[in-house]
């Protein structure tokens, strides 16, 4: 048994973790209003924000629990991307611009927390769009699939007396007839002579014809490209282009060139997409799920606590305190990492609470055996901890192995990537890791302190 100082130090560490987790999990405001004898307390506690300066590092963290689509309400859309008409070399850049297009559109819709992801498995490409909190799913879907208005307008001569008041819309007043539907793809390439990045445009057959006419007409002048009536770029026509393949060069760095290409692509989706999966959950159903999960968790926790006390007496009571600290630490980790909680995730948490008690049970059973052999309480506990450790380690390794396969950390496309399954895996893995920690560190040190006290009295 370690000396007294060490135990005290550990106790303070536990206390510190406990208080930190407690504060992290408190509601934003907590009104305190009660009478303590003659002292009246009427005070509101505010949750402190994680926002401080550590040397030159500014630490600022939002510690709200994040809920997945199934709990917060929202929609998840899965699209199949058709790459059959695209040259294999261009697929990556086409997918990249597809992603930024969709992101742009979704942001236009006012859904800033949307998440757009592309996943590829051999020659199959998928696009996932997650829209938390969206209410009108149909509208969002049609917005994602629509063609933004990309227009090409030619420069007109402005009489000298009007130049002062002329806007860019007056300057580029002539429609060339070209629009987004004519643009097949815009990509970034590097000019082999100047090593400067430039933006290439590729038109379809009809577009090529219109573009040839436009370049003839505006040779030496500018053609402006507007996206939903916002000017994007105004390149000067340097030659007549008959084949529908144009290059815009200028003062681009690779980032601004990429941005321009993405903006141009926003007019035409570079690759056709088809909606293959759609799921949406209303916010009311989500709240209902949270309430039910919370109730189930509390009832389960109460049953487990009673069971532990019934079986192991005061040892069980201390294990219950450990369990409470366990729950607080786990919830704090959800807030800090942050973990996006889904309903299966809540199931994983609830299951892991049941499993977390396991290390305590292993230890207590071993302790009982040692007590039967005539060891005194403290020695029995220390031996119990030592012997149980091997079993705890082995037993939890299995669950972590499976948890990792379910979580699929390397995003292997031949394994499951669904948010539901991952939500379960992540809370299960975290729960087990924290369970081992509270079992062998928190409960152990609490027991050392309390057995010492009971021995002294």
């Amino acid at each position: 048994m370690p000396n007294k100082n060490r135990i005290q130090k550990n106790f303070f560490i536990i206390l510190l973790i406990f208080i930190f987790s407690l504060v992290l999990n408190m509601p934003q405001t907590l009104p305190l209003k009660f009478n303590l004898g003659p002292i009246k307390i009427d005070h509101t506690l505010y949750k402190p924000q994680l926002d401080f300066q550590l040397a030159s590092l500014r630490i600022q963290k939002n510690t709200d629990l994040k809920y997945g689509l199934d709990l917060a309400g929202g929609a998840s859309l899965l699209y199949e991307v058709d790459t059959s008409s695209t040259n294999a070399d261009n697929i990556d850049s086409a997918l990249e611009s597809l992603k930024s297009n969709i992101e742009r559109r979704v942001n236009l819709f006012g859904l800033s927390e949307a998440n757009v992801q592309v996943s590829s498995l051999s020659d199959k490409h998928r696009l996932t769009v997650e829209l938390p909190g969206v209410e009108n799913v149909s509208q969002a879907i049609s917005l994602i699939g629509r063609t933004a208005q990309l227009s090409f307008k030619g420069e007109v001569d402005i009489p000298p007396e009007a130049t002062a008041t002329a806007t860019i819309y007056d300057l580029f007043a002539e429609d060339t007839g070209l629009n987004g539907s004519h643009l097949v793809l815009s990509t970034v390439q590097v000019n082999p002579n100047t090593a400067q990045p430039e933006v290439s445009l590729k038109f379809n057959q009809e577009g090529a014809k219109l573009f040839q006419e436009a370049t003839q007409k505006y040779l030496g002048k500018s053609i402006a490209i507007f996206l939903d009536d916002v000017p994007v770029t105004t390149p000067v026509v340097q030659s007549v282009i008959p084949d529908g393949e144009a290059v815009i060069n200028g003062n681009f760095d690779s980032k601004s060139a990429k941005e321009l290409a993405a903006q141009l692509n926003a007019g035409a989706l570079p690759l056709p997409i088809t909606l293959i999966q759609q799921s949406s959950v209303g916010a009311t159903l989500g709240q209902d799920s949270i309430d039910k999960g919370l109730l189930a968790g509390l009832v389960g926790l109460a049953l487990v606590s009673l069971f532990m006390i019934a079986n192991y007496g005061y040892l069980g009571f201390i294990a219950d305190i450990g369990l409470l600290i366990y729950a607080l630490i786990t919830l704090s980790l959800y807030r800090l990492i942050p973990v996006t909680l889904t309903f299966p995730g809540i199931v994983g948490f609830i299951l892991s609470v049941g499993m977390a008690v396991d290390s305590n049970i292993l230890i207590f059973e071993r302790t009982r055996e040692e007590l039967r052999r005539g060891k005194d309480q403290q020695a029995a506990l220390e031996l119990g901890f030592g012997r149980a450790w091997d079993s705890i380690k082995d037993a939890n390794t299995c669950t972590i192995i499976t948890g990792l396969i379910l979580f699929n950390p390397f995003n292997w496309q031949f394994l499951n990537t669904s948010g539901m399954v991952r939500g379960f895996a992540v809370t299960l893995i975290l729960g087990i890791a924290v369970g081992i920690f509270t079992g062998v560190f928190v409960t152990r040190n609490l027991l050392r302190i309390f057995t010492r006290k009971s021995n002294q009295s």
């Binding site: 609830i350 008690v357 059973e365 082995d394 037993a395």
Partner: protein, 288 residues
């Protein structure tokens, strides 16, 4: 406690459960959810409507409803084939005009090809976890018979879980979905988990009393770990039962599957894994 004298009983129980599972799987197969089969789930609240009104809307749109339930007061849960965005808009228009206060709770639609893909992903995950657990068992127990016994117990549990869901599907409409697969994998690991704890104890005792025969060792190990096994399962069972009873529709069957897996895992470590080790060890002794 001479638990191993109940070996014939354990054998009978396992034999019964395995054959019942096999029977149910062959006879009734499984009900698969839209995760695997593709299709649509649509849940909405619409007061002052009758089921036949809704059925009529679908008949007009020439769509066949696979199931239509009242999941709670005024809340309908419909399952039918995969539809596209236009069809959805049409249906929603028609349904919401039946009565005021239409509110969509959940809408999911999935093409069948995606379901096939999930199936193959699932199979990979099961193979990969089995291999990983095999490797773990192999490295943990250099002794061949322990490893084989743990693996057989693991498959025993997984098969019973599958069988029970075939039965639940037939009698109570439980469906296999992506979460069920998750429950199967969790069962695999918790089964090994329990077996490892018991086996650890046998090995520890073997080191202390080298001369003791395997049956006596097994009895002692089981006696010593039985309380732990049962108590540990009880805590998990409490948590999961609370979830099955109070947790609502969406995860009811997921929690049930986990529950079946935990109970099977606890039983099989004593009723399957250890008897198998004994069987093996005795044969080796006879051969010598």
């Amino acid at each position: 406690m001479n638990i191993m004298k109940f070996r014939p009983l354990f054998f009978a129980i396992s034999f019964f459960l395995l054959s019942l599972s096999a029977f149910s799987i062959i006879k009734w197969s499984f009900k698969t959810s839209i995760d695997f089969a593709g299709g649509t789930i649509w849940e909405f609240t619409l007061p002052d409507t009758s089921q036949s009104d809704i059925e009529e809307v679908f008949a007009k749109n020439q769509l066949e409803i696979n199931s239509l339930n009242l999941s709670s007061q005024d809340t309908y849960l419909l399952k039918f084939s995969n539809i596209d965005q236009d069809q959805k808009a049409q249906l929603e228009q028609a349904v919401s005009s039946l009565a005021p206060d239409y509110q969509e709770l959940r809408f999911e639609t999935l093409s069948p090809s995606l379901g096939k893909e999930l199936l193959s992903k699932t199979i990979y995950a099961v193979i990969l976890s089995s291999l990983a657990l095999l490797l773990f068992i192999g490295s943990r127990f250099k002794d061949f018979s322990f490893g084989i016994a743990a693996v057989l117990a693991m498959f025993h549990d997984a098969f019973i879980l599958l069988g029970s869901f075939s039965l639940f599907g037939h009698f109570f409409g439980a469906e296999l979905d992506a979460l069920f697969v998750t429950a199967v994998l969790t069962t695999l690991s918790s089964s090994v988990h329990d077996t490892v704890v018991t086996f650890d104890r046998i090995r520890e005792l073997k080191r202390q009393n080298y001369r003791l025969d395997w049956t006596a060792l097994a009895n002692q190990a089981v006696t010593e770990t039985l309380t732990r096994s049962i108590n540990n399962s009880m805590t998990i069972i409490f948590m999961l039962t609370a979830l099955v009873v109070l947790g609502g529709q969406t995860t009811k069957w997921f929690a049930t599957a986990l529950l079946v897996g935990v109970v099977a895992g606890t039983y099989s470590s004593i009723g399957v894994a250890i008897p198998l080790v004994l069987f093996w060890k005795k044969r080796i002794q006879k051969q010598q």
